[in-house]
Symmetry: D3
Subunit: 318 residues, 6 copies
C-alpha cells in the first residue's frame, strides 16, 4: 500500500485512493477511443492518472469523491509523476476503508477545533456579543465542520475554515495580551464571524469546492455574514443598529481592508485593523506551509502561489 506522497518513478503499486477530479476524453485516433483523466488523492497529496480504454460505464462509476482501489504504475511524464492505471474498481464495504481517511484535511480533528471555538465563545464576557456569535455559529450548523476556508486560495481542505479560525484565535489572544487597549471580546467575535458565511458562499463536499453558490455570487460571504448578524439581533431582541451590532458588522465588512479586495468599508475600529492583519498573517503563512507540505522533498522550489504575488518559495537549504 503506497500513499501518494511516496510514489516513485517506475513503481508498480496497489492502493486505495479518493477520486478528486474526473474527466472523460477521447483519443484523436479514428475511430477515437475513450479514456479518462483522473486525479487520485489521499491525505498526503494528489497525482494525475490515465485510465486508457475506458468502458462506457466507467464515466459514471469514477466520479469525483469516489473511493477506489487502484493497481497502477507511476511514471515520470513531462517532468511530473503520472499514474498509468492497470486495474481500478470502486471500494466495497469488505475493503474496510473509510472515506474520511483519504481526504486532505486540517491537522486537527474538526470536533476538537469546534470545541475549542465554543470554549472561546463561552469565555466572552459581553452577553450580547456572545449571543450573536452563538446564533451565527449555530446557523451554519454542521457545514462548519467540513468547510474549507477558500476554494483554492488558502486552507482549501476539509475543516480548513475551523483550523483558520482556531489559529487566528490563538494569535488574537496573544495580540490582545500584548495590547490591552484592544477589546478582546470584540476581536475574538470578529475572528469567529469574519468568514462564517463561507460555507454557504461555496458548494463543497469533504472540503473540496465544486463551485460558488448563487448566494455566494450575488451577495458574497462578507455581506451575508453582516446580514446574519442583523438577523441574530432581530431574533434575539437586540436593537439591529445598536453600537455592538454595528461594531460586529463593521469588523466583518471591513476585514478585506480595501474595496478592490471586497470590503465595502475600510477599518475604522482598532479591532478591525487587528482582525485584518491577523487574518492576513495566518492565511499567507498557511499558504507557504501547505505549499512546502505538498512539494516533493527533493524540490528546492514550490509551485508559484497565486495569493503571494504568484511567487514560488525556496526551501531553506540550511
Amino acid at each position: 500500500m503506497t500513499i501518494v506522497r511516496d510514489l516513485r518513478d517506475g513503481e508498480e503499486f496497489v492502493g486505495f485512493y479518493l477520486i478528486k477530479e474526473s474527466e472523460a476524453k477521447q483519443t484523436n485516433t479514428t475511430p477515437p477511443k475513450d479514456f479518462m483523466n483522473l486525479v487520485l488523492s489521499d491525505a498526503s497529496g494528489h497525482v494525475a492518472a490515465k485510465l486508457w480504454d475506458a468502458a462506457p460505464t466507467d464515466k459514471e462509476s469514477f466520479q469525483p469523491l469516489t473511493l477506489v482501489k487502484v493497481q497502477g504504475v507511476a511514471q515520470i511524464y513531462r517532468e511530473k509523476l503520472q499514474v498509468k492505471i492497470v486495474r481500478i474498481r470502486k471500494t466495497t464495504d469488505a475493503d474496510g476503508v473509510r472515506l474520511s481517511d483519504y481526504v486532505r484535511s486540517a491537522p486537527v480533528a474538526p470536533d476538537v477545533l469546534l470545541a475549542g471555538i465554543h470554549r472561546v465563545i463561552e469565555s466572552l464576557t459581553d452577553r450580547d456579543i456572545r449571543a450573536v456569535v452563538e446564533y451565527c455559529v449555530n446557523k451554519v450548523g454542521d457545514k462548519l465542520l467540513s468547510a474549507p476556508a477558500a476554494k483554492s486560495h488558502h486552507h482549501a481542505y476539509y475543516a480548513g475554515l475551523l483550523y483558520h479560525i482556531s489559529r487566528m484565535l490563538e494569535l488574537g489572544d496573544f495580540v490582545c495580551k500584548q495590547r490591552p487597549f484592544l477589546n478582546a471580546d470584540l476581536l475574538k467575535a470578529g475572528i469567529i464571524l469574519h468568514d462564517i458565511a463561507k460555507p454557504v458562499e461555496m458548494v463543497s463536499e469533504l472540503g473540496i469546492v465544486s463551485d460558488y453558490s448563487n448566494q455566494g455570487k450575488l451577495i458574497g460571504h462578507i455581506s451575508q455574514a453582516s446580514l446574519w448578524i442583523a438577523e441574530a439581533a432581530i431574533k434575539l431582541g437586540l436593537e439591529p443598529e445598536s453600537e455592538r451590532i454595528m461594531a460586529l458588522q463593521h469588523l466583518v465588512l471591513s476585514h478585506h481592508n480595501l474595496g478592490e479586495w471586497g470590503s465595502p468599508v475600510q477599518p475604522q475600529l482598532a479591532e478591525a485593523v487587528a482582525l485584518h492583519h491577523i487574518d492576513s498573517l495566518d492565511a499567507k503563512l498557511q499558504m507557504v506551509e501547505d505549499a512546502f507540505g505538498t512539494t516533493a522533498d527533493h524540490d528546492e522550489w514550490t509551485a508559484p502561489i497565486r495569493g503571494l504575488e504568484n511567487k514560488a518559495f525556496l526551501r531553506l537549504p540550511f
Copy 2:
C-alpha cells in the same frame, strides 16, 4: 431686495439670507480683533461675507442655518464677489420670511416627488417586492423629504435624493419599455432602494450635510440598505435568503459597480447593470446641469467638477 445671483460689484443692498457656513476668526493685529467669515445663501446661490469687528455674542447668534437680515456692500475681491456686512441681525416673526424659501432645493416640491414615487410603488405587481420597498421607504420616514443625494458630489441640496430617484424612475421606465427582457418590478424597486439609506449615512439639515454619521462611516449606505431589506423580509415573514430578497440586495450591493467604488459584489443580474448605468447617467448629467445653473451667465466655463474627472465644462456658444 437682491437675491444672491443678482449681486453686482459695488452694489449696496439689503436682504434676507440663510447662513450656510460660519467661522469666528481673529486679525493678526496686536491686539487681535474678532471678525467672522460667513457664507450667505438663498435659493439662487451663495456668497462669502465678512463681518468685521464682531461682538462677543455674534459667534453664538450667527450660526449655520440661521436666517438673517443683512445690509451690505458687494465688492470684487481677488476676482470673486464678496460681501462686506454693514449691519446684520437675526430675522424675527415680524419679518414674515420662511426658512424654506431661502434653501437651495430640487426644482420639484418634495411631497410631489414622494407622491410620484409612491405611485410607482403601488404599480409594482410583485407583492413581496412591493412590500419590501414600502417597508424600507417607511423606515426612513420624514428624513426622505429633505435628504440630499450626496454631501457635495451630486444632487447636494434639499430633496435632492427624492429628485434623483424620480428622474431615475423616468429613465428606468423608458429603458424597460425599450428592453422588455428586463424585470421592470425589480429594476424600479432597485432604483427606489439603491440610496435609501443615505439619509442615515449623513447628518443633514435642510439638505446641507454637516458630516457623515457613525453608522455611515462604519456600515455605509450600501450595506445599510441591504440590512434593511433583510429586516423587512424578517418582519414581513418572508424568507430572508429567498430569490427575490437576494435579488433586491444584489441590486443595492452592486450598484456602485466596482469594489474600489464601494460595491462588495459586481452586477450579475441584467437589472443590476441597468441600475448602475441609469444611476450614473442621471448623477453625471445633473452635475453638469447644476454647475451651469450656479455659474454666472458671463462665464464661459464652470468650475471643475470633481465627479467628472475634475474637468470644467464649456457653455456651448451656439
Copy 3:
C-alpha cells in the same frame, strides 16, 4: 431541418449552415490523418463540428463564410454539444437557400435602421451640423449596412452598428426631452458619428470581423472619425476650427471618457457626458441581452462577459 439552437444530444439531423470558422488539423497517429475543426452557425447561434478523414480538397472547399448542407450527429463532449459530420457539401443554387438567412444579425433590417437614422439627420435644425453628419455617413457608404459595432465586445453581428446607433438615438431623444438644457442637434449628431469610422477600423464580412485594418491599428476609429469631420468641413467650405466643428470632434474624441479607454480628451461639454453614458448604457445592456439570447434555456448562468468585469449573469428565476 434543425436550427443550431434546437440541436440535442444524440440527435441525427440534416440542415443548411454557414461556416463561421475553419481549421485544418492532423491527428497524432502515425501516419497522421487530416481532419477539420469547423464552427457551424445560423441565425440562432453556433456549434463546433468535427470533419474526420478530410479529403485534400476539403480544406479549400470549406472556408469561413461558406454555406453548406450537413448531415451529422450531435453529441455532448466535455459538457458541450459538438457535431460529428457524416456528410457535408457546399450548397448549390438548386438548394434555394440565401446566405443572409444564415447570418446572425440585428433584430431589425439594416435598411429600416438606416432610413430611421436618415430621418433623424433630416430633423437636425443646425444646417452645418446636418451637412457634416450627412457627409460622414455618405463617406462610409454601403459598409454601414453590414458593419458590426465591435469585433466581439458588443453588437458583434450583421448591422450591429446601425442597431446600436438607432437604439442610442431613441435614448438620446428621451434624455434631451428630460433635460432641455442639452443641445439635441449636437447630441444626436454625436450619437451618429461616434462610431462612424468603425467600418474602416475593422475588416468584416457579413458582420463577422476577421481582423483590424492597418488604418484601424495606426489611427483608430476615434481619431479617424474626427479626421473625417475635418475633411467634411473643408470640403463643405466650413471653417475646420469653428465652434461647431470642434464641438462635434470633441464629442467623438471624448466618447470613451478616459485616456486608458482610448479617448485623447475627456468630456467637457454636457452633450459629451450624455453621449458617453448613453453609449455605455446601450452597449452594456445589449451584451447581457445577447448573452441570454445565446445561452440555452436550461442554463441558469450565461458565459462570463468580458465587457462586464468578466462576470457571468444569472437568469432571474422569478
Copy 4:
C-alpha cells in the same frame, strides 16, 4: 544694477525687471489696506516682491508682462529671498530697455533655431512628407517663434518649443545613423510635427502661458496636429488616407505612448518608438538642467520636479 540671480540677503538695489505675476491684496487690519504681491523676473530667474501701501492705480499699472524699474531691499523671509519694494515705476522709452532682454528664453535665438529646422525640412527626400511638414510649420506661423513647449512641465519659456524640436532633431539624426533600419525622413518629420499644435493649445505671451485655449481643452494638441496633417493632405492634393499621411498621423497620435498619457493609439511603427523615447529623453534631461539652472549655487538640492516623480535632484558634489 543687480540681476535676480545675484540678489543677496540685506542688499539694497535698483534695477529693471519684468512683472511675471501680479496680485492685489488687502491686509487683515481694520480698515484693511491695499498691497500687492508681485513676481519680478529677468532672464536669470524670478523672485517674490511686496509692494506695501499700494495706490489705487497701482493695480492697473503693474500687470503681468510689464517692464518696471524697482528700488528695493532683498530679505530672507521664511527661508526664501523676498523683495520689499521701496519705489517702483513703469519703464519709459528714455530707459532704453528692451522687453526681450528680460524674458527667460531658450539659450539659442529663435530665428537661428527656426532656420536650422527649415534646413532639416529641406533635407527631407520624400516630397510628400516634406510638403506636409512645410504646410504645418507655415500654418503655425509666427507663434512658433515664441511658444514654450509646455505650461510648466518642461521647456516652459520663450522659444522653448523650437529649442526642444532642435535638440530632438540632433538626437534623431544620431539615432538614425546608429540604426539605419529607421526611416530618417519619417522620424524627422515626426519630431517637427509632434508638438506643432502646442502654440494653439495654450495662450501664451513671451513664452509665459496664461491658460489653455478652448481648442486646447476640447481637441488637444495631439489630435489638432493630426487634423492639420489631414488638412495639409487635402490642400496639397494628397490622399488623406494614404500610407505616408497615416504614418505621419500615427507618429503624432502615439507619441505620448499610453492612453493615460493622452495618446489614443500606441506606437506600432519603429519610428514612433524612436520618437517617443527621444521626446522623453530630451524633455526629462532639460527639466533637470533647468532645475539646476534656477537653483542657487549654494543649494545642494533642487526643488522637487513634478515631471520626474516629484523628486528633487542632488547637485553632484564631485
Copy 5:
C-alpha cells in the same frame, strides 16, 4: 505646573516645555511686526503657541529642541487649543529640568529595550547569522538608542525603532512557536535587521526627524541594510554570496512586500512572508494605539491616519 495634555480653555499656567517646531513670522500690518509660531511639547503631547511682539533675538533663542519655561494662557481658537505666551525664557541649570523628561518616547526605556534585543541576538544558534546581526547592530551604534522608526508614519518618537523591533520580536517568537517549520534564527535576525539602517536614512535628534539624509534619499534604508550585511560578511570572512547571507539580504530587501512600496524583490522565503506581516501588524496597530493616546478623551474620533487609508478611528463606546 501643567502638562500639555491637561491644558484647558482659559487656563493661565506656568511650566517647562520643549520647543518642537519654531517659525518666525511677520504680521500684515504696516509696518509689519515680528511674532513667532512655536509648537510646545512634553512627554504627554504638543500644542501650538503664539509669541507676539517677538524681540530680534528671540528667533535665535527659541529654536527647535530648546527647553523653555513658559507663562501663558490656553485658549480655544478655531476649535483647537492654542497657547498665548505671556513670558518665555530658556531654562537654566538652576531649573533642574532634564531634556529627556520632556521628550515623547517609547513606553519602555531604550537601554532596557536594547538589552532585550541583545538577549535575543545571543540566543541565536546559527553562528554566522548571529555574527552578522551583531556587526550591523554595532555599526549603527548609539543612534539606535534614540532613533524613531519613521518620520511620522509610525513609532515616530524617541526610541520608537527599538520599541518596534522589540514588540516584533515578541510576535515573531509566538509565530515561530505556532509554526515550527519557520527558521526562528532567520526570522528573528530579519526582524532586528529589517529597519536597522533607518537611523542613517533620516536626520533626527531626540526622536524628532528633521529631514532625510542624502544617503537615505539616494540609497534608502532597505538597500543600505543589505549593503551592511555584505560588508559584515566580508569583514567577518564569510562568503558574501553564501546562502545565509543571501537569505538575510532577501528578508531585508523584500520586507516592504511590493515594488511600489520600495522592495526590489518580493518575498520568496517563508520567513520573509512572516517578517512582512509581523512588521505590518505591529506598525498599524501602533498607529491606532498612538492616535488614541494623543486624542483628547472627549473626542469620539481620532484624526485621520495616513498609513491606514487616511481613515479616522472611532473610540469604542462600550
Copy 6:
C-alpha cells in the same frame, strides 16, 4: 544546405542545426508511441520540428544545445512552417561544423565589444570610479562574453548584454556632448554597471537562458550590482559610503525608474535620469529591430512585442 530563414513550404532539405528546445512526448494512441518536439535553430532564426517514432535513446541524444545534422521536409502546418524530420544525428568532428556558427548572437563579435568597453573604462578620468568599474567587470569574468541582456525581453542572445552596453555607451557619449552639465565619467560607469549582475541573475549557455538563478530570484541583478560596488569599495580600500560609491549605487538602483519596475529608489541625480532613458531607448528600439529581423520578408506585421505594450509592428510600405 538551407538556413532556417530560407526554408519554404514543401522543401526537402539537409543541413546542420542547433537544438534550442527539446521535449519528449507520447501520442494518444494505444499503446502510445514516443515522439519528440524539437526547436531547430541557426544564426538566422528557429523553427519547430517533429521527430516521429523516436527511439528510446533519442531523448538523451537530442538535448538542448546539441548540434545535429537533419534531413527533413518543411511544411506549412496551422499557418506556421514546421519541419518533419526524416533523419537526424549528432554532428561529429568529421562534419567540421562549429557550434558558434549556429548560435544567434549580437552582430558584433564579443571580444570586439568587450575591447571597446575596456577602452571606455580606461578613458574614465576619475580614478575611484574607474577602479570600481574594473573590479565589477572583472568579477563577472568570462560570463560577460556570452550573456544575453534578458531572458526574452530584449537583446536575448549570445553577447546581447555586451552589445546593449556598447550601443548605450555610444548614445551616452553623444548625450554628454550635447549636455555638458552631465558628469560623463559617472554616466558611462553607470551604463557599464547597470546590468553587470545579469550574468549571475540568469542561468544561460550560448546566450540561451534556461532559468533564473536562486541569487537572481532572491536578490535580483539590481541589488546584486549595488552589493558588488560595495564589495569593490571595501576591497579597494575606498569608503563604502562615500559620495562616489553612493552615486554609482544610486545609478544602478534607480535605473528601472519606478518601484513597480524593480527600482527601490527613483532617479535623483541627472545622470540617473540619463541612464534610465538611454537604457530604455536602446532596449525598445532593439526589440523592434530584432522583431523585423526575425519576421519573414513577406509579412507586413511582426508578432506582438511584450515589452512594447504587446503591440505588433508594421513594416513601412514606403
